[in-house]
């Protein structure tokens, strides 16, 4: 009965979450399970937001017989058990630590420590429970006289967000939290929201009761679009003072824009927040485009009037025909936007500024945003800033990671006649054996190598390709002696470690391990290495064991 009443009062609508909302509302207002586990791996943050707003909604619109109070804590923000307890209780009683009181905790005047351990936390919880009950009943008593025993029941809901963090940071608190209902002897239920499944977090030996599971399916394309569209009124309220980018008259246009965006980008990510991020970055450009189109129309009507000061404030939704044309125009830039925004190669703000659409007047309207790939950017930077020896080390590391160790002598060894005896792998070796094709080492990922091998290959490279650019040194008369000195210099080793810190080289052994040689793995791509080798005039292709096809 109460459920229907609630829905009648002010239904909380969230696209795509109707079923979940109904389920949760029914449970929480009726007979809630002591421990609920919500799992969402795709749109975790949206789910958290929805759950939280549902609980806020429920606690605000509490019914006659049961009022609901709720507390939430973000497990990732709580670095210790103590701060988790404090976060829960402060959120429950809606308390903010004040600087003037020395940032003391809630009700700490009597030197009561309810943040010390689980027992004291339970006490604190009971106090908070009593406190809220007291507060709520005094609020009501103004209107109605009631007996103390007749107070409405209070139900406390604890929402722990990002519960998977508890397992790593404070595994001890996991079991008490899941059993909080029986421990506290209160009308209380706990909800975990997590990115990973319960079976991963679950404490051993069945110490925790099995939760009531709610699995949130990944949002469909339509749901994602609806979620984005539903944000529009909020945005237009928020920005009504500064700019009119989200003017209510553009609502329809925004819906179309978002639908197309979701059509294109939903293939790659299903997280509505990511889609919204891209929409936020692209929308100002689109509005500008629309404003431009409007202005042009106006100008052609006025026979070239000089009214160019028109502000975005007056953007009117375009006609149906224009809308289709403009959306087609802008949609070409969505993949590029996705490519640089999704991995955060650029932030949305800068991207929006950098990719403002050119004015419609120019005939060559190319909206395909120019984005350099990660590869281009990093190799250009490496070429400019890396010292020469580091470039050699990177090339050597790539060779060491791709060539098998047993090929080194053949690839790099010099014969007696001073002529290189190289032999590349025969093409025949790519024959399939037993039905399984052999994957080229270049594609199979780098393999680890000991530091000595790296230094040895570095020596070969220096001897073969760097001998001309060296400083003259008379003291080294034996062939190869200079290189020998060179590869054991302090700065060679420090450069290797610096490259590890810069993540251009992976160290596969631990830093504090003294036994045995340190091993490394190359972390630069083929293209970067090729660029580096070109810069150093090393014929990389000749030095690779497996030919690049």
């Amino acid at each position: 009965m109460s459920t229907s009443k609630l829905h009648e009062q002010e239904p909380l609508v969230y696209p795509g979450y109707d079923a979940v909302l109904l389920e949760l509302t029914t449970l929480l207002t009726g007979y809630p399970p002591p421990f609920t586990f919500i799992h969402d791996s795709e749109a975790f943050e949206v789910t958290t937001k929805v759950t939280r707003s549902l609980l806020e909604h429920l606690s605000a619109t509490s019914s006659e017989d049961t009022s609901i109070a709720f507390a939430h804590a973000d497990a990732a923000c709580c670095l210790s058990q103590r701060s988790l307890f404090e976060a829960v209780i402060h959120s429950l009683v809606d308390f903010e630590p004040e600087w003037k009181d020395g940032c003391s905790n809630w009700e700490s005047a009597d030197d009561i420590r309810w943040n010390e351990n689980v027992d004291s936390f339970l006490q604190g919880l009971r106090r908070a429970y009593a406190h809220i009950r007291q507060k709520r009943s005094t609020g009501k008593e103004k209107g109605k006289e009631r007996e103390a025993t007749d107070r409405p029941g209070l139900r406390v809901v604890l929402l722990i967000e990002g519960a998977e963090r508890l397992r790593d940071v404070m595994p001890d608190v996991l079991v008490p939290l899941t059993r909080l209902n029986e421990l506290s002897q209160l009308d209380l239920c706990v909800i975990f929201v997590s990115r990973v499944g319960w079976e991963v977090i679950k404490p051993p030996l069945a110490a925790s009761p099995d939760p009531y599971f709610i699995d949130i399916p990944p949002p469909t394309k339509e749901t994602a679009a609806q979620i984005l569209i539903s944000q529009f009124p909020g945005l237009s309220e928020e920005t009504s003072e500064s700019t009119n980018l989200y003017h209510p008259s553009l609502q329809n246009l925004y819906s179309h824009f978002v639908t197309i965006l979701c059509d294109i980008c939903h293939l790659f990510t299903r997280d509505p927040q990511e889609l919204q991020y891209i929409a936020a970055a692209r929308w100002p450009g689109f509005v500008k485009l629309v404003a431009d189109a409007n202005r042009r129309k106006l100008n052609t009507g006025d026979e070239g009037g000089m009214d160019v000061d028109e502000d975005v404030d007056h953007v009117q939704p375009p006609s149906e025909e224009d809308r289709l044309r403009l959306i087609r125009l802008i949609s070409g830039s969505f993949p590029a936007a996705f490519e640089s925004l999704y991995p955060r190669l650029m932030n949305a703000d800068d991207w929006a500024k950098a990719n403002q659409p050119p004015s419609l007047a120019s005939r060559t309207l190319d909206l395909r945003a120019t984005t350099n790939t990660v590869e281009d950017q990093s190799s250009a930077h490496l070429l400019e800033y890396l010292p020469k020896i580091s470039k050699y080390i990177l090339v050597a590391s790539y060779l060491a990671s791709t060539n098998p160790a047993k090929s080194d002598l053949r690839m790099f060894g010099r014969g007696l006649d001073e002529k290189k005896r190289k032999r590349r792998a025969m093409k025949a070796s790519r024959k399939t054996k037993g039905g399984v094709a052999k994957i080229a080492q270049r594609l199979a990922g780098p393999s680890p190598f000991p530091i000595d091998r790296l230094v040895a290959i570095l020596g070969v490279l220096l001897e073969e390709y760097d001998a001309d650019s060296r400083m003259p040194a008379e003291e080294f008369s034996i062939p190869g002696e200079y290189t020998d000195m060179e590869i054991s210099r302090v700065d060679v080793y420090s450069s290797i470690l610096e490259l590890v810190a810069a993540r251009l080289l992976h160290r596969t052994t631990k830093a504090d391990q003294l036994d045995g040689p340190a091993t490394f793995k190359s972390a630069v791509s083929y293209d970067t290495t090729l660029a580096l080798a070109k810069d150093l005039k090393i014929p990389l292709l000749d030095l690779l064991w497996e030919p690049v096809v």
């Binding site: 943050e45 990732a76 923000c77 670095l79 210790s80 103590r82 404090e86 630590p97 004040e98 600087w99 003037k100 020395g102 940032c103 003391s104 905790n105 700490s108 420590r113 943040n115 945005l235 928020e238 700019t243 980018l245 989200y246 509505p272 927040q273 990511e274 919204q276 991020y277 936020a280 929308w283 991995p343 955060r344 932030n347 949305a348 703000d349 800068d350 929006a352 990660v374 950017q377 990093s378 930077h381 400019e384 800033y385 890396l386 010292p387 020469k388 020896i389 400083m471 034996i478 002696e481 020998d484 060179e486 054991s488 210099r489 302090v490 700065d491 080793y493 810190a501 810069a502 993540r503």
Partner: protein
């Protein structure tokens, strides 16, 4: 003896004072250059921080992050930035953040400690918000805003960001991003890695999406080196007191490009060269001022005076007899100060002339490149140091010849464009000299000529003037008498101090241990005398035997050969000890070894005295013990590889050592 020492000490002090002065001047200049290079970036950072505007419609608030990729100027640059800002800022280092709690604690404490006027009253650590909880900072910030009346952003500067633990930083970033509405934090990350996308590589997307990353890159690489070299040693408006020679210049440039492209290493190398110059050349004590002739006759200056007289002696075969006689006459102790003064002025003006010529040629070359010609084909980016070296070695005759040909072929309009640039250069000079005065007049005359009818002749005249100007001013600085005082010439750079070869040092340490442990006072004769094997420490004895062996070493054979050396050592020591304790007695080598512990040393002293009483058994035990110790030392140094291929054998790891 002690007087001599004292005098030496005083001389050194004079040299050291001169060094300090010269280096301070050079360093000031370099730092001014650095400031000028960094100024725009600092301004940019300040602008970024003050830029509050964010895009509307983002799914959640983002934590502003400014990454400063700073491959050349590491270190304290960001302190300058934080001083420019009124905002409160905290500097964090990797050691402050070994875990998330410690990191948050130092972040919060950094802000709290800086404000003495905002004090937390009556706080009990047990019942109030812990000092690593961000709620504390939120509360403090609220108070801060009311007390100070502004809501300035809070700046967190993370130095050496690559060294921070990524997991810890993820937590800290996450926590801060969750409170960014209440707490306007801005993070500045100082990174030395040349990869601008370091954050994208090292951090997961779940954190990246909470950050608003702006990337700034400081100037680095070869451009910094070139600017410093050009503006310090080849600038028309600055004269360094010590002029860098070609070898040192080449090494410094090569080291920068090859190994360590940082500003600090560049400064260190230049400083080292200054130090070396002042320490190997005693005459540098008169680098700045020459003592008067009266002072020179005093005993404390006698060395310097003698030295000067020797060096100024006109022994060159190029001189005619008449000239030589004339110079001999001038060379009196009374006249020395004047001579030194004269040579100082002459050297500096010659050096300046070379610099001016370089700059004029550079202007013409850059102009030619601008016009689309190849010119002399100079590469002012990577190859700059080579060009500078050529100039210092007076090796540019060919270039001058080529350039004069090219200049002759320039059009009148082109010459008209170049000439004012050259005139500008002359006007930038610190002091006007005779050379530039003359040259200025010539160039002005050429410009005047351009306005007349006979302007077609200007390119020829320009070329003629320029060629003669170049030729007359390009001289080798080493022709100047006493150049050693102000010019480092062909002195090599002490590269082994900066970038030694580990293996070579280790092997030479094992082969000649006494060169490292004894004082360097030893006279050259001692070096030539080869020490016999028994005089070396145990590890060295073992190592010498190691070098004599094949690829695999039988440990028992090795032990026996070691034992035989020790037998010799024992008898020699007994021989030396039996008559009386001679001064030059070769001490037990192990006593010299730094690794020997005090306790063992004591025992050994006793042993040398009492080893007559030692039984055969005890001696054998001692030999074994010493062998095992030496073996383990070699093992620890990585010279031995254990193998199970053959019993009692180990494998050598170092071959073909040239002794």
């Amino acid at each position: 003896m002690s007087e001599g020492l004292q005098k030496e000490e005083e001389d050194r002090q004079v040299c050291f004072d001169a060094y300090k002065k010269a280096w301070a001047k050079c360093l000031d200049r370099i730092q001014a250059i650095a400031r000028r290079l960094l100024d725009p970036v600092a301004g940019q950072i300040v602008k970024e921080i003050e830029d509050h505007a964010t895009l509307t419609g983002l799914p959640h608030p983002e934590l502003p992050i400014i990454t400063v990729t700073n491959p050349a100027f590491r270190g304290t640059f960001l302190y300058d930035v934080s001083q420019r800002l009124d905002n409160r800022s905290v500097h964090l280092y990797p050691s402050d953040c070994h875990n998330a709690i410690a990191g948050m604690r130092s972040l919060i404490a950094g802000f709290l400690e800086g404000t003495r006027d905002i004090v937390r009253e009556s706080h009990r650590s047990t019942t109030s918000v812990p000092n690593y909880d961000i709620k504390l900072l939120v509360a403090w910030y609220k108070e801060f805003c009311t007390v100070r009346g502004n809501d300035a952003q809070l700046i967190v500067i993370l130095h050496d960001f690559e060294v921070f633990d990524t997991e810890v930083m993820q937590d800290i970033f996450y926590i801060c991003s969750q409170h960014v509405r209440a707490l306007p934090l801005v993070f500045i990350l100082s990174m030395s890695s040349p990869v601008p996308l370091y954050l994208n590589i090292a951090y997961p997307r779940s954190i990246l999406k909470r950050l608003r990353i702006r990337k700034l890159t400081l100037p680095g690489g070869v451009s910094v080196l070139n600017t410093v070299l050009l503006e310090t040693f080849f600038s028309v408006d600055f004269q360094p007191d010590v002029i860098l020679g070609p070898i040192a210049l080449q090494y410094i440039a090569d080291f920068y490009l090859r190994y360590n492209p940082t500003f600090d290493s560049l400064i260190t190398n230049l400083q080292l060269m200054h130090m070396k110059h002042f320490s190997i050349e005693p005459l540098t004590s008169i680098l700045y001022s020459t003592p008067r002739s009266k002072e020179l006759s005093q005993p404390e200056w006698s060395d310097i005076a003698d030295d000067l007289l020797t060096r100024l002696a006109p022994v060159s075969k190029k001189l005619s007899d008449e000239k030589r006689n004339q110079q001999w006459k001038l060379l009196t102790p009374a006249n020395l100060p004047n001579l030194v003064e004269k040579h100082r002025k002459q050297l500096y003006s010659r050096a300046k002339a070379v610099v001016v010529v370089f700059n004029v040629m550079k202007i013409i070359q850059l102009f030619l490149v601008n016009e689309g010609y190849k010119g002399l084909g100079w590469d002012f980016k990577i190859g700059l140091s080579d060009i500078l070296v050529e100039f210092l070695q007076n090796n540019v005759d060919r270039d001058v010849k080529d350039l004069s040909l090219i200049m002759r072929k320039m059009s009148v309009a082109q010459v008209a464009k170049v000439l004012p640039q050259i005139l500008d250069l002359f006007s930038e000079m610190e002091h006007e000299t005779a050379i530039t005065r003359e040259a200025t007049a010539e160039v002005e005359a050429l410009i005047e000529l351009l306005k007349t009818n006979s302007k077609d002749d200007v390119p020829n005249k320009f070329s003629e003037w320029a060629t003669s100007f170049f030729k007359s001013n390009l001289v080798s600085l080493e022709e100047n008498p006493l150049w050693e005082i102000w010019y480092t010439g062909l002195t090599p750079f002490p590269s082994e101090l900066i970038n030694p070869s580990i293996r070579a040092t280790m092997i030479s340490g094992l082969l000649r241990p006494h060169d490292f442990t004894d004082k360097v006072q030893s006279t050259p004769d001692v070096d030539s005398e080869e020490e016999s094997l028994w005089q070396l420490p145990d590890t060295s004895i073992l190592f010498k035997r190691y070098l004599d062996s094949g690829k695999m070493i039988n440990v028992y054979d090795w032990f026996e050969s070691f034992q035989s050396v020790l037998e010799v050592q024992k008898t020699e020591l007994q021989k030396a000890a039996s008559p009386r304790k001679k001064r030059g007695k070769p001490q037990s080598p192990r006593k010299l070894s730094a690794k020997t512990k005090g306790k063992q040393k004591q025992q050994e002293d006793v042993e040398v005295d009492d080893n007559a009483d030692q039984t055969e058994e005890e001696w054998k035990l001692e030999v074994q013990a010493r062998f095992i110790r030496a073996l383990h030392e070699l093992d620890y140094l990585g010279f031995i590889k254990h193998t199970k291929r053959k019993a009692d054998h180990v494998i050598r790891t170092v071959f073909e050592v040239t002794e």
